[in-house]
Symmetry: C2
């Protein structure tokens, strides 16, 4: 706490916590320091292994998608996987880690179990400088382990995921850490949470808390299949509750039932939302009240693993928005962060993103 | 089992198991298929994170060494580590995985607990095609978890390790899977095991089993500090029990109390052992009855993490010896395998080593 102001510092000049201890002390401060971004989602440990396209077919997974699986199916898929690497993941948690890696103040709310993988998740997110909310699962979580995401990475760098949510699936309104949510300038919600009954009510509370404190609500629709499952609810959310939308090309086409990307962009423009649409190697498109800007992708030598690309794009974009960058610069920063994370295995940054952004002249 | 001979095939033309299921079925065959290498050591899950030199000093670890730590100290070091990656490790287990990755038949004997990290270790070693021996720990292992090795990787790629052995520390003669040990053409022992009282008696049994079945005994002295702790015992072993020795430059200088590398090589020559001495970027030296051969190092673009370099050198060398290569070619294969493993984080191969060796014209 030596060089930390005793009163909340303006977030735009906030520096990142320099250690897990400092992050924890910030979390306990009175009055609490506001945070750039508080992300709500499912904490997962990613189990990554290389796989051939034929391996996906053998376990009936659709390439590029995320399937929710029960414990038995997870064990069966894992049994057939190559030697793996375990790294903390979870879509919204990756975004929070990215915001912190850029020097932002980030919080994360989500549930995991008191087991070895939970210990791994807790260590990694706090070591990244993210303030972790209350993690007590619902009583119904008894016997459920920390969630895992089996990630099969094919030679083209594409990832196909099978997620066992475990304790994360018990997030309900009573488990939501509203104090931490209330500290976010932006509250970021993971679309995957709409797959969970109790979580929907928790997200409703998070939206109310955010708007009650004049914070913005950001949503990622997460996955084309997730959009298919929840199209109606997502469209309703866009009308009333969401201020910033993240989606990729395929997802907005599906969301608006459009026949082309241009038609989908047109439909998205009509919502009047601030939106960032990622297009893989084609970069991204940022939509603002002032118009639409195309942002070229950051070149990458070799795409090793696309896991986390969208999550880290969102991290850069949200950090930019809460730290004085305009939407276009924020989009460029998002692209830079996404490029870093797809150049290695795992969905959390492996270099100093702040330094990277400085070298690129963005920060 | 579709394309597997019903009788043991000559090991020199043995193909690797094509799946974990096949590896398991081989393990149960009657009569058992002989194996190229059976490795005995401590199964560990490596917890790898980047660190600065100052971080090592802060936790009182000596750069480049391996320190045994208790659970409290492990928790304290882990608490200060950056976000980490979990990958299966353990010196002898890495060697077994390397032999399998080259297409050899490998077994591994060592103890871990019935917990989440144990599940990770079991999955990864069997998915690598290694036949796992009986893993029932001694009753005294009650409450001990699967062993972990905290690996702090500094910017120069050097690794500094703190190992909590947990269940691995209870390996005694009663726990040793002598049936699996008896199937090895070469039984490979990890010097680190001499740190454990009960393990010494188990290794004595392993040596007897090996020599009783005309197998060779190979030893790695593991670590310069390990040599200091067990110099006398290692020198006695070389006289009677060991046929193949692995060490690095610093280790043989310490082992023979020599004033220079050349003097140490001279002392090693006098033992008459087959020996491979690794020298990092300077390559390796292979000593045989016919003389001494220097083998240049395989070029590496960037040394990311030296964890496993010695283990994978041993894998290549042992695969070569048991599959018709001469000592010099075996040393070249060892160098190739070591170069692969230091070019990424983690101590297990990430590419098809057999393919790599073919491209290099060794296999």
């Amino acid at each position: 706490m030596t060089d930390l102001d005793p009163v909340p510092v303006p977030v735009s000049v906030g520096r990142p916590p320099s250690s897990a201890e400092e992050a924890a002390s910030w979390a306990e401060e009175v009055p609490p320091v506001p945070l750039d971004v508080v992300a709500v989602g499912s904490p997962l440990v990613d189990v990554l292994a290389h796989a051939a396209d034929a391996d996906l077919a053998a376990v009936e997974l659709v390439k590029g998608s995320m399937a929710l699986v029960d414990l038995d199916r997870a064990a069966s898929i894992y049994g057939g996987m190559a030697p793996a690497t375990e790294v903390s993941g979870g879509s919204a948690a990756n975004t929070a880690a990215g915001v912190a890696a850029l020097g932002g103040r980030a919080g994360f709310v989500g549930l995991f179990a008191d087991d070895e993988m939970g210990e791994v998740f807790r260590h990694d997110i706090t070591a990244a400088g993210v303030i972790l909310g209350r993690t007590t699962p619902a009583p119904s979580a008894e016997g459920l382990g920390t969630g895992r995401c089996l990630v099969l990475v094919t030679p083209d760098g594409e990832r196909t995921m099978a997620t066992y949510l475990g304790a994360a699936s018990t997030l309900g309104p009573d488990q939501l850490d509203v104090d931490l949510v209330g500290r976010g300038q932006i509250v970021y919600l993971e679309g995957y949470l709409w797959d969970l009954g109790p979580a929907k009510a928790a997200l409703r509370v998070a939206v109310e808390v955010a708007h009650g404190s004049d914070a913005l609500v950001a949503l990622t629709v997460s996955d084309p299949f997730c959009v298919e499952r929840h199209r109606k609810e997502f469209l309703e959310l866009l009308q009333e509750d969401v201020d910033v939308l993240f989606a990729n090309e395929e997802e907005i086409i599906s969301l608006f039932g459009s026949s082309s990307f241009d038609a989908a962009l047109g439909a998205l423009e009509e919502t009047g939302l601030l939106a960032a649409v990622t297009r893989g190697a084609a970069g991204s498109v940022v939509l603002t009240a002032a118009g639409t800007v195309e942002i070229p992708a950051q070149p990458v030598d070799k795409v090793v693993d696309t896991t986390g690309a969208g999550d880290l794009y969102a991290a850069g974009f949200l950090y930019g928005l809460t730290n004085g960058l305009g939407p276009e610069e924020s989009g460029r920063l998002g692209g830079l962060c996404a490029a870093e994370v797809i150049s290695h295995l795992g969905a959390r940054p492996q270099v100093d993103l702040r330094e990277l952004a400085r070298e690129a002249g963005i920060l």
